[in-house]
Amino acid sequence: MLTRKRLRLGNRDLPFQLVLFAFGIVTFFPLVLVVITSFKSNTQFYHNFWLPELPLHLGNYRSAFRIIWRFILNSVIYSGSTICLIAAIASVAGYVFARFRFPFKTVLFLGFITLIMVPGVLTLAPRFVLVRDLGMVNTPFALISVWVSGGLVLSTWLMRSYFESLPQELFDAAYVDGAAEWQVFLYVSVPLARPMIATVAMTTLIGTWNDLIWPLVTITDKSQMPLALGLMQFSSDFETDWGTLFAGYVISSIPLLCVFAVAMRQFISGLTSGSIKA
């Protein structure tokens, strides 16, 4: 009886596999079409919409790269500095909130976490006026300062819960060995918190890499634009030059693809853990 059930369960996968396979195909179809079209000239594209066609027009990639590289570089710089700053500031703040008792601690911490409920759309307009009056429009500071402060809210919370979960004996051992507080933080706590720091870095990367609206209102200088905004500009400049347009799309997906390939696990856990704890 049981063996028969086992056997039946054995090919139970087949219908699911078929549905998933169909689903996978429709998921990847637009992407594949974009890649195919990126190698075509406009005549080839209008003449033959669906299928790849020789000769391949690699020149599309050359002309797209000439414009896109600048945006990618900008985004790497902006997102990179934001990630470093958030990791540093949130580790320190999380450590202080997790390990010490001091007056007004609760009030200060509430000052962090209640901001989770404040949506970006509420603060958009007044924040722009503020940043403009501080003279930061069209400088990287407009992006980095706001991204850092926005990201700190969740990151500090995540770092605090992580440091709280570390066992007390660990710290006692370090203190007994004569370590100063900063040494305990830098040489014991931070190395242990590496997985959480990676999570914070990933969340920040995705958020800043894809942010369109804030750069749109603060950056008008083309040479300063991050990737998301640059792509919007690029797509209207090359509106009907489909090959170049799609080559640019392919190129601009490569950076996150590399991160995804190298750190897939972190990528996935970074996305979920941030929100599941919330």
Binding site: K5, L9, G10, R12, D13, F16, Q17, L20, G24, V26, T27, F28, P30, L31, F45, I89, A90, V92, A93, V96, R99, F100, F102, P103, G111, L115, M117, P119, V121, L122, T123, L124, A125, P126, F128, V129, L130, V146, V148, S149, L152, V153, Q168, F171, D172, E181, W209, L212, I213, A228, L231, M232, Y249, S252, L257, V259, I268, L271, T272, S275
Partner: protein
């Protein structure tokens, strides 16, 4: 001396703190305050200040500069009679409703099928495959779907011609009747990564034994779905729904990139109207008032949603 939290013996909590007066305790913690100075300053300047500025300036006529005078609740009254705003709210409600269902049902079924596979290796690969589209920058999702809906050389119209339904080709984004539907289906077969992973995580925590005993009791796929899997992942489903709701209410980059609210006002949403009021018409006061209304709506929807799901869980 810094006062470490956990080094005081258990039970003596707070005793040592009461020994000295507040100013002394504050002085002792000076290094801690110094360590918190940067984040607190950043949050005060770039988060709290704009938030209160929005509340305050929603009562003013303000061009973002020198023109600034008190009008009380006039902006809120104006919203009641603003036809654009009414269209925007109607659009948003329908859009959010549709997206919440789609972005919950679709990932749920995908996740359900993936964890049902007996081959662990395939499970793993399907998971990667469906998460993959997230390497594409968000703006490219919109730009690719703008290409799909393109009236001249769009993927959708070309596909219709290919299967002989050429008479149904359409300017999907250019027609007030179809534009909201077209927008609702942006990114359609692609799973929402976050919601997918949350629901998948929930389904994975259901112990194998529960499924095995259900199978022995003769429960098929659908029975198991409705009596085990959905009830046991209610928390994750609620979270996925709340997240979709909050994203869709405040993110307007989709509308901005695809249609900019057009044709006419037929695909306007409140967040986009806020953006246009502030940055096209320099009505920062009215924009702030729309922001306040959205904030209150999102807050109350979240609370209601949490209450309902908590209530259902207690039954």
């Amino acid at each position: 001396m810094l006062r470490r939290l956990a080094t005081s013996p258990p039970g003596a909590k707070g005793n040592s703190a009461r020994q000295s007066a507040l100013p002394i305790r504050i002085w002792r913690a000076k290094w801690l305050y110094l360590a918190l100075l940067t984040p607190v300053a950043l949050l005060l300047i770039f988060e709290w200040l704009p938030a209160f500025s929005a509340l305050y300036n929603s009562l003013y006529i303000w061009n973002g500069g020198k023109v600034h005078f008190y009008v009380g609740l006039e902006h809120y009254e104006r919203m009641l009679s603003d036809r654009t705003f009414r269209v925007a709210i109607t659009n948003l409600v329908g859009f959010v409703f549709f997206r919440v269902i789609m972005q919950t049902v679709l990932p749920f079924f995908a996740a359900e099928m993936i964890i049902n596979l007996r081959s662990q290796r395939w499970s793993y690969w399907w998971k990667i495959i469906f998460v993959f589209p997230m390497v594409v920058p968000t703006i490219l999702n919109y730009l690719i779907w703008r290409f799909i809906y393109n009236p001249q050389v769009g993927l959708l119209n070309e596909g219709l011609k290919l299967v002989g339904l050429g008479e149904y080709t359409h300017a999907w984004l250019g027609d007030p009747l179809t534009v909201m539907w077209a927008l609702a289906f942006v990114r359609f077969p692609w799973l929402p990564t976050l919601q997918f992973l949350i629901i998948l995580g929930g389904l994975q925590t259901i112990p194998q034994e529960v499924h095995e005993s259900a199978a022995i009791d003769g429960a098929g796929f659908w029975r198991r779905l409705f009596y085990i899997d959905i009830p046991m992942t209610r928390r994750q489903i609620t979270l996925a729904m709340i997240l979709t709701m909050l994203f869709m209410t405040q993110r307007f980059d989709l509308f901005l990139v695809m249609t900019d609210g057009g044709p006419g006002y037929s695909s306007m949403v409140p967040a986009l109207q806020l953006y246009q009021s502030a940055f096209h018409f320099l009505e920062f006061g009215y924009a702030s008032a729309i922001g306040v209304v959205l904030f209150v709506a999102m807050l109350s929807l979240t609370v209601i949603n949490l209450r309902v799901s908590a209530g259902a869980a207690n039954d």
